[in-house]
Symmetry: D2
């Protein structure tokens, strides 16, 4: 199974006064990684919307927060696809921190994110285009 | 079981170019509601941190997105506590929209959010103070 | 000159690891206040867009940051209109904190925000509708 | 005068339902660029805070919004320093878009951002450390 790795730097905007990354912001990091993973396959979401009239919307998220990230941390989002259906995809995504003094990257949080293919104007389910499914299948 | 209801208005800041509320922002709405629910019990989180040396951090979230919210929508976050442990609480939270033309409020998304009590400096688990647990128990 | 006051509570989402409200987030507070001020005049921006085909977009901001706000602070955004033109409005807005132990509310930041009326699809300048200008004129 | 260029990709999180980047989010892009510019000089802000007890806080922003950015746009933040004082720096920053079909990059917005050096615990003004000023002087 292929994994796609996308680096994320933690800026002030991502943190809160607890001194750590605000919990909702990991979902932003994960969306950036999904977008870049699609882009790496030649899939641009603005073209999907304008040309094919579809968009991807998150249907569900299950996320465990294990360790906090802090200002200035250099993180990686590691993503793979665990399930493809006719009108949805499920991503496994984890945010890891490669600390200088440890052999293994530390898992800060990990998530399953189910994304549905929708009609861009009506928000009703649509089949994922064949060519796109083929691209994605090549990644599994 | 008691439910705590907190109103949220959708502003431009909450939406994205898909025309709907960005998926991570529902977690902000839910945190506001948890904070206000604690406040309604007389519990201020800055005092918890400064006086008791503890803070609450989210351990896990399971969230289903059912219908999108849009700019200007007036929403309610409906919260209850489904589980209290020695060092953690689990909230059930749903975001609902009371459309003018429907009898029932529409559920836009619902979530289970597990929150752990942590030492504010070491981020290690701490027992929830007795008085606080008693307050919370009165809510179930 | 009329002033419109809109309360804002500071949540974790608004703060950063410096322990204070992140500087960009005051612009969110100010937009909420402008939206609610328009709403108080009976003007809903989604109707402006869908019915009149116009939207308001910020053209410029000049903002001075004087004192930081912190988690849990209860703030007010105090807004007035300093200039109305054919196709733009300028708001004076300040964020204040009414500390328990001071007679005067503390000004945390203040800004001039110029907002242009635009065609919602082409983003080119449009005259502010007469009825809307009349509503606004009544506020000065 | 040196210019520091930092690329920024526009994700869904940055946009609003007007279809463009939300106005406050350009301030996030500019802060990322300032942080990376300091990093490129060997200056890490978490070390400044933990070792030297200082942090940089924004004192004022003057920003003009000229053209909107949209989802998926690849932008650059172009930054330079226009003024150094004992306890403050002023950055000139503009966000530009290099469209495929134009010779010149399009300026989407430009800003002057004054940043003060503060004591990290008291938030009172502090002199910028000599070594840091020397690094910065080398950039002008």
């Amino acid at each position: 199974m292929n994994e796609f790795i996308w680096p994320v730097r933690v800026y002030y905007e991502d943190t809160d006064s607890g001194g750590v990354v605000y919990y909702a912001n990991y979902l932003k990091f994960m969306e950036r990684a999904r977008t870049e993973w699609l882009r790496s396959l030649g899939i641009e979401q603005d073209q999907l919307r304008d040309r094919d009239g579809i968009l991807f919307a998150v249907r569900s998220v299950t996320i465990d927060y294990r360790k906090p990230a802090r200002f200035n941390d250099q993180l990686d989002v590691v993503s793979s696809i665990s399930q493809t259906r006719k009108a949805s995809l499920t991503f496994q995504q984890r945010v890891v921190h490669s600390a200088a003094d440890s052999a293994e990257p530390l898992v800060l949080c990990d998530a399953a994110v189910k994304v549905a293919c929708l009609d861009a104007s009506t928000f009703t389910p649509r089949s994922i285009p064949e060519t796109l499914l083929a691209e994605i299948a090549g990644e599994r």
